[in-house]
Every structure is written in C-alpha cells, then in structure tokens.
C-alpha cells in the first residue's frame, strides 16, 4: 500500500548524523497542493471576471438588499407633532439624552437645546441631520444607526416642540459671587443651608449618577470608593470645580454655595 521506500540517501556524515529518506510525496498532499492552486486561480478569476465581486460591488449589493428589506430606513421621516410622537420623543430623550443635555434641555456636557442659539441649525432638517450623524469631534453621538429614522424624527420633533426660542444665557449671569481663586475657592462653611440636597440632586445629578447614586455615566457615589476623596470637603470641592476632562461638570456657575453644600451633604450622608 505504501509507496515509501524508506531508503536512506546516505549523506548522514554530512548532516551531523541525521539520515534522510527520499520517500515520494504523499498523494493526498500533492492533491491538496493542486487543489489549492486551482482554488487560488479560480478565486482571482471569479472575483474579478466571472461574477465580478469587487469590494464596491459587495457593498452595493448589501445596501440594495437592505433597502429592499427595510425601505424606510434610508429615508428621513417628516416632522410630526402628534401627542403620540411627542410622547415617544420624550421617552427616547429621557432614555438617551438627559446625561448630556439635562432633563429640561438646559444643557450640560452638550449645549442648551431650549434657547434660540443653534450650532448646527435649528430647523427640522438640520436637527435631524445633527441627530442622525452626530458631531463626533465634539462628543455628540450619531443616533441614526442606533435609533433609525422614525425615532430620530420623533426626537427632533420633541426637541423642537420644547424649544422656547429664549435668549441664550448671557455670560453675565454667572454668579458674581463665584469665589475668587478658582479651584482653591472651596467654601469653608459646609453647613447645609435651607436648600434641599435631595431635590437638587434629583434635578441635576440623576442623569449621570442615577437616583439611587449607583452611577451610570458618572461613578457610584454610595460605595466607599472615591476617586477625588470622600470627605465632605473633598466632595464639595469636586462638585464645585468639576472634573472637566472626564465630563463631570463644574457646578459653581449653576448652583450657589449653599446648594452645593446641601447636595454634597446629601451625597455624603446617603444611605439606601
């Protein structure tokens, strides 16, 4: 059965004693080699000449198939201010956008969406475009591939229905009392005033840290792990100055010292 001759070539003295047989190549190995050569040649011919399947052709075929299966996907949906659509928009907004734009659209990491100032245009078309494609460089995600045109339309309709066209907040609004000395300007008096820490937290912080303080975009605030220190003073400092490079907002322009002290105390003392 075997064609192996197992005869040594006899130059072991020239290879440190290693003998070599000169057995024929196994048939299946030769077969495999020819088969892969044919496969390779056929692959080249097929890919470029027989059923030209260039990368572009592949891409177009897949897109065409998708367009047939989901005809609405590529199209933009019209603005629709019906109560159902606005309710859907609100639901989607709460689920996806509050972390950056705040529940009342007043802005945080992302800009204010209520006022008359638009970076990328405030007409329906432009808002749909911004939502669909995002602004990758500035941190606004692209929602088109995630939510699809229908949901994007509901969101755009919702955002525009909430837009009051109010004048953008003037920089002068910054509390003049913002402590001088910036980062070091931590209020020394951390006695919580009359302000209600829980209410402030729920209005401003839940989007990122969740109502039970377990954390989402921002870290968990009820465990013992503190990135920037867990004493009351340190918490006040973190809230006051923020951690801009990680996305935690500096609240000193939006909350008064008392409010910061109150919300810090709420966080510090929080128990499930």
């Amino acid at each position: 059965m075997s064609k192996n001759t197992d005869e040594v070539l006899g130059h072991a003295d020239e290879s440190d004693g290693i003998e070599e047989y000169d057995n024929p190549l196994p048939d299946w190995w030769i077969g495999l080699f020819f088969l892969t050569i044919i496969w390779g040649v056929w692959h080249i011919a097929d890919w470029h000449f027989i059923t030209p399947t260039s990368n572009e052709a592949h891409y177009e075929a897949e897109m065409a198939a998708a367009a047939e299966q989901w005809p609405d996907l590529g199209k933009k949906a019209e603005r629709d201010d019906s109560p159902e659509t606005l309710a859907l928009g609100k639901e989607l907004y709460t689920a996806n956008c509050v972390a950056c734009h705040m529940a009342d659209l007043s802005g945080g990491i992302g800009p204010n969406l209520k006022d008359s100032e638009w970076i990328h245009g405030g007409d329906y078309e432009s808002v749909v475009n911004t939502l669909t494609n995002g602004v990758a460089a500035k941190g606004m995600p692209a929602w088109g591939p995630v939510l699809g045109p229908k949901k994007v339309a509901a969101l755009a309709s919702y955002v525009l229905s909430e837009n009051t066209g109010e004048a953008p907040a003037a920089p002068a609004e910054e509390p003049a009392a913002a402590p001088e000395g910036g980062a070091e300007g931590t209020p020394t008096d951390v006695e919580a005033g009359p302000a209600d820490g829980k209410a402030i937290f729920e209005k401003n912080c839940v989007a990122c840290h969740k109502a039970d303080l377990s954390g989402l975009v921002g870290p968990n605030l009820k465990d013992d792990e503190w990135i920037h220190g867990g004493s009351l003073e340190e918490i006040v400092a973190t809230i006051t100055n923020g951690v801009p490079e990680k996305g935690m907002i500096s609240w000193k322009t939006q909350l008064s010292d008392e409010e910061i002290a109150a919300v810090a105390k709420y966080v510090f003392e929080y128990e499930d």
Partner: protein, 486 residues
C-alpha cells in the same frame, strides 16, 4: 521493508573532533530563558489589564498601549529571536563541521542583540515608537539592528564558506532564507527621515506605507517565526527522535513553494481596505496556496516520528515537538481560511486574530523553544536537575494554550457576530460598543488564566535550568531526555 537505521547518539562527535564554540551557545541559551520570562510576563500582564483595567497601575508607563508592544517585541525578537540564534549557533557548527567563522563576530552579534532588546524595553514604555506594528522601535535602534544583522550575516555566510562538508542540510536552507529575508524586510520597511533623535517619518505615505508595513508584518511571521523554526525542527526533531527525516524530496518542494508563496500573502492583512482590489485578491489567493507547502513541513516532522511514537509517550522533548508541529499545522490552516474575504470580514479586528496569533506563537514557537532548551540542557550540563518538572511544564503549557485559544475564538466570534447583528427593524442590535466589550470579560479572564499557566510552566523551566546549570538538584535522577552525547 523498513530499513532501520540506528544513529548512535555520538555519531556527530565521532567525526574528527572539531573545536566548536560552546560559549556562544551557552550565552544564547541563557538569553532565551531570561527573555522568555520577561516577554511572557508582559503578555500575562497585558492580558490581566484587558480583564481588569486597574492592573495598568494608573500611570502612563504601564498602560496597555505601551506594554503591548513591549510584549510583542520581547516575545518575538527577544525570546523567539534568541531561540533561533541559539539553535543556529549550536546546530550549524555541527552540520557544517566547523567552528563559527569568527568568534568576535559571534560575540558582537550576541551583545549587540541583547543591547537592542534592552533599548527597546527602555524606549517603548516612554512612548517612543514608530507606530508600525512589530517595527515600533525608533530609528537609532533600527540602524543598530541593521548593523548587528549584517554582522550576523557575515558570520553566518562566512561559516558556510568555510564548511567541511559539501552537502548543505535542509536546516541550513531554512536558516539562509531567514538571514537574507529579514535583512531586506527590516531595511525596506524602516526607511524613514529622522526629524529628531527619537522621531522620524516613513518615506512612504498612505496606502503605500500600509502595504509595505504588512508586506513586512506578514513576512516577519513567515521569515522570523516560521522558516527559521522549520530549520530548527529539521535538526532537533530527527536528533531527538533518532530517526531519519521522512522525505528529502518533500523538504525541497515545500521549502521552495513556501518561500516563494509567502512573500505575496501580505495583503491579507489589508482586506476590505483602500488597497486596490486586485492586490487584496492576489494576497488571498497566495494565502490559500500556502496550506500545502506549510503542511509539507508539518508532515515531514510528524512522519519522521514513524517508528518512534512509543518514545513520544515517554520523552518530554518529543512531546513538546509534536505539539509544536501540530499547532503549526493548525495555525497554517486557520490563517488561509482567515484570508478569504468574507471570513476575514468576521474575524478582522476581533480576538479571533489574537487567538490565531497565539496558536502559532505559544504552540509552535514557544513549544519548539522549550523542546530545544530541554534537549540541549543535558548536552550542555550533562544532566537535568528536576526531570519530573519537565513533564509538569509540558502539561501546564498545553492546557494553557488550549484555554488561551478557545477563549479567544469564543471572544472573537462573540464580538464579530454582535458587531454586525441587525434586528428586525434593520438597526444594529448592539449599538452600544461598551455592551459588547462587557460580554468579553469572562473570556479575557479565561485567557489570563491560560496565559498564567503557560507562564508558570516557563518559570518552572527557568528554575529547573538554573538548578541544572548550578549543579543543584538530585544528581542521580534519571534523565527524561536521551543521554547526553558522551
């Protein structure tokens, strides 16, 4: 019909005594063991970071992006490189019946190479890199590599020139392809214009740069991790098995087909990229044609063991070699499959590629290296301190590889499928990238476990060889490996 040839173990040295340079062999032996530990420790560390990020120690020098190239450079150029040099300096003197051409050049090569590795370890954590994978080192180090390589080449070809035999054994051909091709690859891919002592720009741009890079990258696999190791296999496997090589004819045919086909396969790293379509197709076609030439090497290894399989069961050196050759066969089947565009579309950018890499790296390169170290130890030191540890190392390593590869296949398929999963509404089912990464965590832990076992095996080896060299251990322990040459 079986002509049984017995090769007395001593035959090599029965020839008129040649005064081989054993010092350089011992030096590369030591370097191989040391860098194995360093490179694999770095591998386990980055594996841990992927499972549990605080292991990056929260400082820039030990983050993933800087330790990962340290790992790849340490295992490829330091561990695998020194393994190959060890094998070449040991086997080529014997195969050619002559001392190396020049001891001075040997020493220059050894110390130059170790210095280059130290320079790599000192620059990469500080973020000095060319940002080309497997060619990260900055230009002054690249020039040093070129100089050391040329010195090595002179010494290597000089030794061939002064050889005392006519016939060049197959291992030598494979070594030659390594010495020549790596020089060309290294120089061409690293051509760049320095703008400061630590920074340079490649002379190629855009797609040309990418193509040159992966022509290099792929052939680094071919001519640094494959052909020299095949050369080592052709010397050490028949030596350890004490059997004739299965087929001289097969060795010629698979050698030439392998080196010819490999050079063209680089574009399989750039599928679905901006590289012209036809070049991608050629890369894929040549990769498919590589299956048989690669398996030719595996076959010649495994069939050489005909008549010695009973010894495979008891001799750990042969066990290491058999597993190495088998993983080589597996990786060289998997690779061509991954070169087919639709398959690559699923595998690319996933952990599947990492699994593929390590079935070659841990299985083929690592186990060939370990086998050679254990083969040489009794021949250099006359004994091995803890024979039973060799067996333990083998099993730790084997189970470690399996855990590593299986977890990475699972992770790769999981993420590859999740990335493309589309729901009934035609939208991505997992639009949130982090939710996919989250799913991989378990696989990352399993990989870490496998890698850690592999590392523990290597530490046992290092400890064992240290005791062996120091003369510790139980001197009359029975050798698991064939008795030393006289």
């Amino acid at each position: 019909m079986n002509v049984h040839v017995t090769q007395p173990e001593t035959q090599g040295s029965a020839a008129p005594a040649v005064d081989y340079d054993e010092k350089i062999v011992k030096q590369f032996f030591t370097a191989t063991v040391v860098w194995a530990l360093v490179g694999m420790l770095a591998g386990v560390w980055v594996a841990l970071q992927l499972a549990w990020w605080p292991a990056n120690l929260d400082n820039p020098y030990t983050t993933f992006g800087r330790l990962r190239p340290l790992h790849t450079n340490a295992v490829i150029f330091a561990f695998a490189g020194n393994t190959v040099f060890l094998g070449i300096y040991h086997s080529m003197q014997r195969l050619l019946k002559t001392r190396m051409f020049s001891d001075a050049l040997s020493q220059f090569h050894f110390w130059g190479w170790q210095l280059i590795i130290v320079a790599a370890a000192l620059t990469l954590p500080f973020g000095h890199t060319q940002s080309k994978e497997y060619a990260e080192l900055i230009w002054p180090i690249d020039i040093a590599i070129a100089v050391v390589w040329v010195v090595f080449a002179i010494n290597f070809f000089g030794t061939i020139a002064i050889r005392k035999v006519k016939h060049l054994y197959v291992a030598i051909w494979f070594y030659m392809s390594f010495v020549l091709t790596v020089a060309v690859l290294h120089i061409v891919n690293n051509l760049s214009l320095p703008v400061s002592f630590t920074k340079s720009y490649p002379i190629y741009s855009g797609m040309t740069d990418a193509l040159v890079q992966w022509w290099y990258g792929h052939n680094a696999v071919a001519f640094f991790l494959t052909t020299p190791f095949l050369g080592l296999m052709y010397y050490y496997l028949p030596k350890a098995a004490n059997r004739p090589v299965f087929s001289y004819r097969l060795s010629i045919i698979h050698f030439w087909s392998l080196v010819f086909l490999y050079i063209w396969a680089g574009p399989h790293h750039l599928l679905y990229s901006a590289l012209p379509d036809w070049a991608q197709t050629v890369g894929a076609a040549f990769s498919i044609m590589l299956i048989a030439p690669s398996w030719g090497g595996m076959l010649n290894g495994l069939l050489t063991l005909r008549g010695a399989w009973d010894r495979v069961r008891t001799d750990p050196v042969l066990k290491f070699f058999v597993v190495a050759v088998s993983f080589y066969g597996m990786a060289t089947f998997e690779g061509p499959m991954m070169s087919i565009r639709p398959v690559n579309g699923l595998a690319h950018f996933t952990n599947w590629v990492v699994g593929h890499v390590h079935s070659g790296a841990l299985g083929w390169n690592g186990f060939m290296g370990f086998g050679i170290l254990y083969f040489l130890a009794p021949r250099i030191f006359g004994r091995i301190a803890k024979p039973s540890w060799v067996e333990t190392h083998f099993w730790l390593g084997t189970i470690g590889i399996v855990l590593y590869i299986v977890s990475m296949w699972s992770a790769g398929l999981t993420e590859g499928l999740m990335w493309r999963a589309v729901g009934e509404d035609g939208l991505l089912q997992y639009p949130n990238f982090v939710s996919i990464v989250d799913r991989l965590n378990l696989f990352y832990w399993i990989r870490f476990l496998g890698g850690a076992m592999y590392l523990v095996g290597a530490v046992m080896m290092a400890w064992n060889l240290w005791l062996t060299a120091r003369g510790g251990g139980s001197p009359d322990a029975e050798l698991p490996v064939a008795a030393p040459a006289k």
